[in-house]
């Protein structure tokens, strides 16, 4: 797919480009700061934009805001936001509104090539990808009876669901059948009072919204 990258750290940018091109993707533009990223994304209309949260000029959350801006302008473009550290609130911001085709990962996950490319495909396909760190932070802080009502297995399924995995992906990860996964998912939704939904990104959104309250 055609990708635009926003990353101000030179070595990392070069590394990413090489990685993507080796996999067969085409990097049609690369930007070093927020406004430039938005410009290039609008100009090239790629299928995916990969952006670092922290970029010039303010070195705060430039990249995140640029990604959201691109999202608002061109909803068809998938966005993957990377960072050396991840924050729950950034995940929530990315997922608020239309959560399809959105991803948020730690930069070091890029090194896990299989998972990384799979995540890119998922995003392009309209799914959602959330770093396990975000999920564990969410699960760590959430208190209250409903979660306590879940079985340990259901909690595992919940965590993978929040990351954005499909039922098949969860089944593979936990080495159980997809049917078992579906049953667990249904149980989770019931216990948490969430409406069941087949679409991946809606599940993620629902879980994260619920856990972050």
């Amino acid at each position: 797919m055609r990708i635009v990258i926003g990353e101000d750290q030179l070595l990392l940018r070069e590394g990413l480009v090489r990685l993507l091109e080796e996999e067969g993707h085409e990097v049609v533009g690369s930007a070093g700061d927020g406004p430039d990223l938005v410009r290039k994304a609008k100009a090239h209309r790629p299928e995916l934009v990969i952006a670092d949260v922290r970029m010039p000029p303010s070195q705060t959350d430039e990249g995140l805001r640029a990604a959201l801006e691109i999202r608002a302008a061109e909803p068809a473009i998938g966005i993957l936001v990377l960072s050396h550290h991840v924050e729950v609130r950034y995940a929530v911001e990315l997922l608020s509104g239309d959560a399809s085709g959105v991803g948020y990962l730690l930069k070091q996950r890029v090194a896990d090539l299989d998972r990384f490319f799979a995540a890119l495909e998922r995003i392009r396909a309209g799914g959602s990808v959330i770093d396990p760190e975000v999920v564990s932070a969410l699960l760590g802080r959430a208190r209250g009876d409903p979660l306590a009502a879940l079985t340990p297995r259901q909690r595992e399924v919940l965590a993978l669901m929040a990351e954005g995995r499909t039922n098949a992906g969860i089944a593979e990860e936990l080495v159980i059948t997809e049917k078992a996964v579906a049953k667990h998912v249904a149980g989770i939704f019931e216990a948490l009072g969430l409406p069941p939904s087949a679409e991946g990104h809606r599940r993620v959104l629902a879980v994260i919204r619920y856990l972050d309250r």
Binding site: Q59, T60, H85, V88, D112
Partner: protein
Amino acid sequence: MARTHFRSGGRRAAGSRAVRPALATIALCTAGLAVVQLSVVLANDDRGTSGAVAALPAVVGLVYVGAGLLAWGRRPHNRIGALLTAAGLAWIGWGLWAADIPVLTALGLLCGPLPLAITVHLLLACPSGRLEGSAERIVVTAGYLLIPLVYATAELLGASRRDDIRVLDVVDDPAVADAAQAIQTTAAAVLLIATAALLVPRLRSAQPGGARAAPLYLAGIVALTVVVLIDALSGAGLTVTGGWPVEVLNAVGIGIVLLLPLAFLAGILRGGFARAGELQELVRRLGDAPLPPDRLAAAGGDALGDPTASLVYWLPGERRYVDAGGAPVELGPGRAAEEVTSGGRKVGAIVYDGQLLRDAEPVRSVARMSGLALDHERLTAELRASARELEASRARLAEASDVERRRIARDLHDGAQQRLVLLAIESELLARRAEDPEAVRRGAGELHAGLDAALDDLRAMIQGLVPPLLAERGLRAAAQELAAQAPIPVAFDTDGDELDAPPHIQSTGYFVINEALVNVIKHAQATSATVSLHQHDGALRIEVTDDGIGGADRARGSGLAGLADRVAAAGGTLDLESTPGAGTRVRAQLPCG
């Protein structure tokens, strides 16, 4: 009138120096006058008295003027000097009655009562040079107005009975002349009795300063009595003791009168009546080297002429004065006190001889200076304490910073550095197994896991040092995250407005909340807590409260003490309320201006 004495502070000191040329001029003129008077009188062969007796007024006058000028020079603002000089001039003037020229004789006779009036004034105004009380003023005014009037009238009516001054006689009737002289004598006697009546109570008061003036009073009373008596008796034609000529008696009387200026002079020279300029001199010296308040009060008293002046301290709790040693002080008879205030409160008083220094205004100046000296002492002590505290705080901050650095270095050394060295070794080992793809894959996987772990370590360390969220989204977001991450429910109370505070203030605020929450979680055994963050009136207000066991102490556990230092360094304040059993409240206020 006395108010002007010390208000014109600077002019006074200069005045006492400027006065000297004037005094020298007066001395010269007086000497000249005396010479003139003497020559005129001695040239008159018809005077009827011996040359020595005729010269006495001039001699007496010169002694008075000499003493007067000396007193005037040493203490320009004290009228005694001027009065003595005036008396001396009056005496010289009176001596003219023995001249041959009718005009001069008349002048001399008219000057006659002046020495008496001036002497009365001197006695009543001694030692401060001022009259207190209406009784004194009435007597002196009578002396200056009534006596000369009476005397002049009496002379006109022929009281002196001298042939050579008949020019003044209006009525040539011996009976009238007798009556006139009797009136003269009576008037003088009345004045004398009134003066004595006013002086006797002063003799009684056993004050050091008053005692100094006692010989003066005695001499004055005796001299006056003798002079007036002799005059009356000689006028009546009687001799006092058998065979003593009237002239000799007169001379003795005048000799006694000479006692007066010498007594005044002795009183002045014996000290206590210090130079008037000394008070201003003292003020100037204070500019260079401040004196401690008690020494200042004593020096001020000295300058004013009362070495018994001292500073006593006020105990508000016990409502009384104590001296420097703490012993209670009572105001004895004749002692007066001027309040000393410092910082708007009464802190003490200057106790001094009220008889010696009748005018309270200069004492008030000394009291004010003592108050300033006390203020100075207090502020200096406060400043020193504050500087010591500041130094201690800086030392603590520097040490805390050093400790922090060492901790980071150690963590890096023990954590990431170790891992990376191991990973380097593993990568080398991996290279050696390059022919075995399975081993390579596994080895690479292990390397990856190791690097992931190292990255996780670094991420945690960075979060502990400077949380990225604080830098990216500011204090409110970071605080909210702290509240959310806590293992117990922590409510976050804030308003929605954008925080307008410099980064280091937001950073300090973050560490307050972090440290406070750490304490809540580690020590308080609380079930819930609240973090409150607001900004108004140019300050950030942070509060962390919990419902735990309380009993937190700034001293125990360096966390809160270090926090206090940090908050103080940012210009803010940190409060801790922690009653055992009633939870804890940490409150911080940081300026954003």
